[in-house]
């Protein structure tokens, strides 16, 4: 089955989104869509607004204009003011550029927190630890162990996250995001700060997630080689505006994109 067959219909639509912080315009009327099961990259020079775009999608920032449309659980939802907690419950999970793990907890506990939205048992039942509470905890443990196996972090599951090297922390963050069984996964520079070997591993994992779980992935990445290799489609931002949108080959040949990266003067 070719890649084109695997990719489905539009699942996320960003429409004319504008975001400003005081006088600073982070995003200006950005429009693009994301199809189900695809690997969508957002690229652009530093300060182009890529992280802000992800933050808008999962509700951390609220745009002043424009809207986001998300197909969740079969129905379309339209919003501008959704908060991040709601985004999580709609099946959006993400990782962060500067690693937002809970440094005081072990790897296992961190990944388990990713499942919090699926936990139904009340705190009273948890305190008494019989029946339903016990079963639910074990059930989630089992689910999480699958992900831990998948990302090959079994050997460090009881290690406090703060003690791990950077590359492994990034992997744990990915595991936590996966634990939520998201339909849309936002990855903010998942390979930054890694050496070649770590990058290859992470690349493999990201592709595996897309293949194995079918998760739609939107990722921000600076490494052009990675982006061109693994993405289905690419959006290019520069100074908060979209300047290109298409397959990696189309984007690579686009003059505006080349100018942006080479720093040619803009009007």
């Amino acid at each position: 089955m070719s890649r084109a067959d695997q990719v489905g219909d539009v699942i996320l639509s960003v429409e004319s989104v504008s975001l400003a912080f005081g006088g600073v315009k982070a995003l200006q009327e950005v429009t693009f869509d994301v199809r189900e099961h695809e690997m969508r990259a957002i690229i652009g020079p530093n300060g182009a607004g890529k992280s802000s775009m992800l933050n808008v999608i999962n509700g951390v920032y609220h745009p002043q204009q424009g809207k986001i449309r998300l197909r969740a659980n079969g129905a379309w939802r339209e919003f501008r003011d959704m908060d991040s907690h709601e985004a999580a419950s709609l099946g959006i999970a993400r990782t962060f550029q500067n690693i937002a793990l809970f440094k005081g907890m072990t790897v296992l506990d961190n990944v388990l927190t990713g499942r919090n939205l699926k936990m139904r048992v009340s705190f009273l039942e948890q305190a008494i630890w019989v029946g339903r509470a016990r079963r639910e905890e074990l059930e989630h443990r089992r689910a999480v162990e699958e992900i831990i196996d998948f990302l090959e972090i079994q050997h460090i599951r009881k290690t406090p996250v703060g003690k791990l090297p950077y590359g492994l922390q990034k992997r744990v963050e990915l595991a936590r995001a996966l634990a939520a069984e998201p339909s849309l996964l936002l990855l903010d520079e998942p390979m930054s700060g890694m050496n070649l070997e770590e990058k290859q591993d992470m690349c493999r994992f990201v592709l595996d997630v897309n293949d194995h779980y079918g998760t739609t992935i939107v990722l921000i990445e600076h490494d052009m080689g990675v982006v061109m290799d693994i993405s289905d489609r690419v959006v290019v931002l520069d100074y908060g505006r979209k300047i290109a949108d298409g397959t990696p080959d189309q984007v690579r040949a686009n003059q505006a994109v080349i100018d942006a990266y080479l720093g040619v003067a803009h009007g």
């Binding site: 951390v60 962060f96 500067n98 937002a100």
Partner: protein, 299 residues
């Protein structure tokens, strides 16, 4: 309602507030320069007052005692910075705060161990009697002493404000408060700066100790003054010298007014918590205080 009485209460409250500001200034100094919230400031005030009074009792005159006590406070300040704070320099603000709670206990115990725990009186030569012409002309009783204290506090604030704004050391302090790394990068000797700050805070504690000691007597209860300074800081912002004054005025006035006008309706004693509730309400509306800087959380 008796207008003269209202003004009397109001002015009394404002002046009491100024006394709070005196203590709050010490907090602001240290927080401004090192980001540490020094819970032990109250204990430092107590120690300063007790040391001064005890040295005077040993026979030295006023000015000599003052100088000796100042020396003690400066040495103490430098010692605290070196022994308690430097080892904790990279820890979270909460950890540092808890360390200063520990420091409070140490200083309180030390003060009383060395000088004993009997209360002492402190005479500064200014009587706590109403100003003649105010009480005769407008029937308002305002204590001479409290006016004097207000004057001292005002001078102190003006002096500190000038110090921070116009001297080289003051600029260095502000730089350090803003960004330690950057300050080091331009060659500011961090350790010396912190030592200076704590020494100055010790001096401020001494002045506050003298004022409060003269007003209430030098006794263990003096340490609780620090607790009153907290609402002042919340209102005024932790990093603002003028904020400490404005906050003090607001807290002092509203506390007194509440006690006099609302107190009788609920059995009195409101003063123990009213300032805190005001601070709490303020925090909910404007967490950074009147003059503070907005805190932004980044992920």
């Amino acid at each position: 309602m008796n207008v003269a009485f209202f003004f009397e209460v109001l002015i009394g409250g404002l002046l009491a507030g100024v006394m709070y500001s005196l203590v709050a200034l010490g907090f602001v100094l240290i927080y401004k320069a090192s980001g540490v919230f020094n819970f032990a400031q109250g204990a430092m005030v107590f120690l300063a007052a007790l040391t001064f009074v005890s040295i005077m009792k040993m026979g030295l005159n006023f000015w000599l005692s003052l100088i000796v006590t100042l020396g003690v406070m400066v040495v103490l300040g430098i010692g605290i910075e070196k022994i308690v704070l430097r080892p904790l320099v990279n820890q979270s603000p909460i950890t540092l705060f808890m360390a200063t709670i520990g420091l409070t206990f140490v200083l309180e115990g030390l003060s009383q161990l060395v000088w004993g725990s009997q209360p002492h009186g402190l005479e500064l030569g200014i009587p706590d009697v109403p100003m003649q012409w105010l009480s005769q002309k407008w029937n308002i009783n305002v204590s001479q002493f409290e006016l004097f204290a207000a004057g001292v506090a005002g001078a102190m604030v003006a002096g500190l404000a000038l110090f921070f704004q116009y001297t080289r050391i003051g600029r260095a302090l502000r730089a350090v408060a803003d960004d330690h790394q950057a300050a080091m990068a331009v060659g500011i000797p961090l350790k010396n700066i912190w030592a200076i700050v704590w020494a100055v805070a010790g001096f401020v504690a001494l002045v506050a100790g003298l004022m409060w000691g003269a007003r209430n007597g030098v006794q263990y209860a003096l340490t609780f003054i620090a607790l009153k300074a907290l609402p002042v800081l919340i209102l005024g912002g932790f990093e603002s010298v003028p904020g400490a004054i404005v906050g003090g005025l607001i807290i002092g006035a509203s506390e007194k007014l509440a006690e006099v006008y609302i107190g009788p309706m609920v059995g009195g004693g409101i003063e123990s918590w009213f300032a805190y509730v005001i601070a709490l309400l303020f925090l909910l509306v404007r967490p950074q205080g009147l003059f503070g800087e907005k805190i932004i959380d980044r992920v």
